[in-house]
């Protein structure tokens, strides 16, 4: 809600999580931290919605989870992207690129805003 770009769409959150997991298994906090670091805190993950989103992804078979030990030796739930999850991410990414490309094209067309 305090995000500078307004509310993140649910689908976008899924993309961010899956992308985060491409680097390897991670717990929820790790995912949140990765998104913050990668976007220089521009996209701040709405933390409350992170976990329900993870459950949805798990139900869809895009991520799997298991309990393990964290870097500071605490019991934590680790999420891993599945093969289906990678395929889904690719498909979503290409949709996103086309969409973003189209919007960019519109914004760049004359009369230019800038």
């Amino acid at each position: 809600m305090r995000s500078e770009t307004g509310d993140l769409l649910q689908g976008t959150l899924s993309i961010l999580i899956l992308k985060a997991l491409l680097g390897g298994a991670a717990h929820g906090y790790g995912i949140a931290r990765w998104v913050e670091a990668t976007t220089d805190d521009v996209l701040r993950i709405e933390e409350g919605s992170l976990y329900p989103a993870l459950r949805r992804l798990e139900d869809n078979g895009w991520v799997s989870s298991e309990w393990g030990l964290s870097e500071n030796n605490r019991r934590a739930r680790f999420y891993t992207i599945t093969r289906a999850g990678r395929a889904h991410l690719r498909a979503e990414a290409s949709v996103w690129f086309r969409y973003a490309g189209a919007v960019t094209q519109v914004l760049r067309s004359s009369p230019s805003l800038a």
Binding site: G28, E46, G48, R55, R75
Partner: protein, 898 residues
């Protein structure tokens, strides 16, 4: 949720995970971890610890809300996972069980057949109980229907008939019945289906009823309409409703039957309706329903009894209230009309109970109990089989335990196997039941109502499935617990040495055997009592000679044979022509009643002395017989003479009574020459002279007492309904065509019915008893065989287990006889225990059979003694054979065998 920042979940939570994942704790842990990490990062940036936690929680948002969402989600997922796991375990267990069965085909076949037999027999008997007792009658809310009887305390007959005024008063004054119909049953000679002037006259059952009968029953005709009140007025009653069977049969399914006329007893009646196919009131033999058009003076006569009555309870009225309301009215009528109604009450019976009598109900429930006992014996046998098999499988099970199978998991798998076995047995059993029902309904006596509706329907199948699950658990649970315990306890050590089930298992087997024997004892006792009752009946002196007697009934239509003279003419030529047939020794006829349960009766008054109050209330049946009747039946004349042709309408009225009446009414003197009249003191019936006394005869059936009897000469009492009795030299049924031909020669339109030999008649009277006896006898025999097999199997098994011990004993010098003695003694102790429990159980259980017994106490010592002997011998033999085998093993082989 215990997500206090930094807080730890209570330690016991962790143990929950032992049984599976603990959803709540996991969610709490995951969120707590997140908050702790965030707080740690804030601290690293320099915030004080408390502020850091505060900030972390704020940043997260609604911790409780999200935790709730996650918990709900995870619980759902956990349930789904467990279900899937359970199903896949089940599939595995089933597959595993099937494989185990194919590895032990002999065990599987024996077990399957045993189960199929037990479940099949139970299913068959339950289908009969279901069709005859449980399924409602084919009337709307048939449980609200009641048969209303007059309770005749003078004769002790609880189910006596009403007079019209009594019926009308009960109908009009009650506040508990929505309506109440009266009816009379009868028969008609029907002339229909004639082809080219050649008609086969037939006798059909008829019911004469008030117009509201169909309203009471809530039945609407399939075609046409019911009666109107107007049609019960004499003269306007020329209408008839016909049964579906009559319509499709004799009347050829004529679509335009409505409005057509049928000839009944020579009178034309217009068909106004056809009833639905399943309509059978009061029984299946009824084919026509006619308005009850009673004369006005009969409607005024409170002392003329002859009406049946059926009624429907008002909505919300319970049975006891209906009884008390009608009883109140009956008591009022008793006081109001002392002469006609003294000692008359009412007696109500729910219609379903009326249709299927108490005796039949009892015997069906007894059969069901018996067959259930057979099933239990069956279960014990299969349980023993399973125990033996478990011993064989001990190694296999031990390996599974060693590989990490939990005990609960093992029990579940073993139970799955036994239920699988019982379900497969049940499928076979339903097939057996189907075959069994064909046989059963073919052998069953015809007078069991609704037997034609016996079928394996959904309710039966549901019960069978229940039985299968029950039996599977019953014979599987104990062996499963047993072998899983043994497996977990002894694991591989003992298993490898070849399996020795402990004392526990032995005790278990012996208990099962004792229980089996107890059940067999109960069944044998029940069957024995029925057999003894039946033998009593067979030996009973009926008072006449039933062999070589042909009987048939005729009903002369009143329209055609209106005068006494015309009826006498018919009787005379009938008797004369029949007598002349070759093979006929003598011919007699008797009027109204013969082997009938409800004879027409009346009070009587003796001339010349005061009657005691008891005597005044005695009712005697009135009957008319031909001179040769007693000789034909073989009923000895004790005193005086029989009737002659001169005892006619112009001669003084005469009567013959039976010994029983003579002895009680004229004790210590001869009854011959005494006079009495029917009715009370003021009756204007003529005084009749007793001219003869005949021997007593049980005319109302085997199991009823000898009553008083009065017989009039048929030439003084011109009846229209008669039974012809012919004594023949050879097989009575051979004469049927000849006698029929003579009747046709006298009157081509006159049907005869219920043509049967006396042996057949008597046979049908005891048919239900014979059937119950045969069925229970079969079950008891089956139980005995199963029980003996059980004893034999267990003793054999236990002896085989002790081969080495026996070998040692023999090697140490024991005589084979001692070994036999030891084994038999141990077996017989078990048998004796079962016998004692069984006898106690039998004494308790057979009390329920009292209504089925005749001349035998439920605690009949002879039966119990016979059962004891049978059980003793059977179990002795079943123990002896394995004992002998054990005693004759070669000691060396026995010792080497393990």
């Amino acid at each position: 949720m215990s997500v206090e920042p930094g807080g730890k979940p209570p330690a016991w939570r962790r143990y929950l995970r032992f049984w599976g994942s603990d959803v709540d704790a996991d969610v709490a842990d995951e969120l707590q971890f997140h908050l702790d990490m965030r707080a740690r990062d804030y601290e690293a940036r320099g915030l004080p610890a408390t502020d850091a936690r505060q900030a972390a929680t704020e940043r997260f948002g609604d911790v409780h809300g999200i935790g709730g969402v996650l918990r709900a989600h995870d619980r759902r997922r956990e349930h789904r996972r467990q279900r899937i796991e359970y199903m896949s375990d089940l599939t595995n267990d089933v597959r595993y069980g099937l494989r185990a069965f194919t590895r032990a085909p002999a065990f599987t076949i024996v077990a399957l057949l045993t189960i199929a037999l037990g479940i099949g027999a139970t299913t068959a008997i339950f289908s009969v109980v279901n069709a005859v007792i449980l399924r409602p009658l084919p009337y709307h809310e048939s449980d609200r229907l009641v048969q209303v009887w007059m309770d005749n305390r003078r004769t002790g007959l609880k189910e006596d008939l009403h007079s019209w005024p009594n019926y009308a008063d009960l109908r009009d004054q009650n506040r508990v019945l929505s309506n109440m119909a009266a009816y009379v049953t009868g028969g008609y000679n029907i002339t229909a289906g004639c082809r080219e002037n050649e008609c086969e006259p037939r006798r059909i059952g008829a019911l004469f009823s008030t117009h509201d009968l169909f309203d009471v029953l809530h039945v609407t005709p399939a075609m046409g309409r019911g009666f109107t009140a107007q049609e019960t007025v004499p003269g306007s009653d020329g209408v008839v409703l016909i049964s579906h069977g009559l319509w499709t049969g004799l009347l050829g399914s004529d679509r335009n039957i409505l409005g057509r006329a049928v000839r009944l007893n020579g009178r034309e009646r217009t068909v106004i309706g056809v009833l639905p196919p399943n309509f059978a009131f009061p029984n299946r033999d009824t084919d026509v329903w006619v308005p009850l058009a009673m004369d006005e003076d009969l409607k005024q006569s409170r002392g003329s009894f002859g009406l049946w009555s059926v009624a429907r309870l008002k909505p919300g009225v319970e049975f006891p209230r209906a009884v008390s309301d009608l009883t109140t009215i009956a008591t009022r009528l008793e006081q109001q009309y002392r002469d006609s109604n003294r000692d008359f009450g009412v007696h109500l019976v729910p219609l379903p109970e009326q249709v299927v009598g108490r005796t039949l109900r009892t015997s069906l429930w007894v059969m069901l109990a018996a067959v259930a006992a057979v099933l239990l014996i069956d279960c014990a046998n299969v349980a023993n089989l399973m125990l033996s098999r478990a011993a064989v499988r001990e190694r296999e099970i031990s390996v599974r335990v060693a590989l990490g199978a939990a005990r609960t998991r093992l029990i579940r798998q073993l139970l799955t196997e036994s239920v699988l076995l019982s379900v497969m047995g049940a499928v076979l059993g339903v097939g057996l039941a189907w075959i069994g029902l064909r046989v059963l309904t073919g052998l069953a006596p015809e007078d069991i109502p609704r037997l034609d509706q016996v079928a394996i329907d959904l309710r039966v199948l549901a019960v069978t499935l229940g039985l299968a699950l029950f039996t599977g658990l019953a014979f599987g649970l104990v062996p499963a617990l047993q072998s899983s315990r043994a497996a977990v306890g002894s694991a591989l050590r003992e298993g490898i040495r070849g399996g020795t089930q402990g004392r526990r298992a032995q005790r278990l087997r012996r208990t099962l055997v004792a229980a089996q024997i107890a059940l067999v004892v109960v069944l044998l006792t029940g069957a024995g009592l029925l057999i003894r009752s039946f033998m009593h009946l067979q030996r009973m002196d009926l008072g006449f000679q039933p062999d070589n007697l042909l009987t048939m009934k005729l009903s002369l239509p009143g329209a055609k044979y209106a005068t006494p003279e015309s009826r006498f003419g018919f009787f005379d030529s009938l008797i004369e022509r029949t007598r002349q047939q070759p093979g006929v020794q003598s011919v007699g006829m008797i009027g109204n009643i013969f082997l009938s349960a409800t004879p027409t009766s009346t009070t009587f008054t003796v001339e010349g002395r005061e009657m005691t109050p008891e005597e005044r209330n005695i009712e005697v049946p009135i009957d008319a017989v031909s001179p040769d009747y007693f000789r034909t039946m073989g009923i000895p004349l004790r005193e005086g003479r029989t009737f002659t042709a001169t005892d006619n309408l112009t001669a003084p009225p005469v009567v013959i009574i039976n010994e029983n009446m003579a002895r009680h009414i004229w004790p210590n003197e001869s009854a011959v020459g005494k006079r009495f009249k029917y009715g009370r003191q003021d009756s204007d019936a003529p005084l009749m002279t007793v001219v003869g006394v005949v021997a007593d005869m049980r005319r109302t059936g085997f199991d009823s007492p000898v009553r008083y009897e009065t017989f009039r000469p048929h030439t003084q009492r011109a009846v229209g309904f008669l039974t012809l009795v012919v004594r023949t030299a050879g097989d009575p049924l051979q004469l049927v065509p000849a006698v029929r031909a003579q009747i046709k020669a006298i009157d081509a339109e006159q049907p005869v019915f219920e043509v049967a030999s006396m042996d057949q008649l008597l046979g049908s009277m005891v048919a239900q008893r014979r059937f119950s006896m045969a069925l229970l006898g079969t079950f008891a025999g089956l139980a005995l065989v199963l029980g003996v097999v059980g004893v034999y199997g267990v003793t054999s098994y236990l002896v085989a287990q002790r081969t080495r011990e026996v070998g040692v004993r023999l090697a140490l010098g024991a005589q084979p006889g001692q070994v036999v003695g030891m084994v038999v003694r141990q077996g017989m102790v078990v048998a004796a225990a079962g016998l004692v429990v069984g006898l106690l159980g039998a004494v308790a259980a057979t009390r329920l059979m009292t209504g089925l017994l005749y001349g035998v106490s439920p605690h009949d010592v002879w039966t119990l003694a016979a059962v004891t002997v049978v059980i003793g011998l059977a179990t002795l033999a079943a123990n002896w054979v394995p004992a002998l085998r054990a005693a004759h093993v070669d000691p060396l082989t026995a010792l080497r065998s393990e």
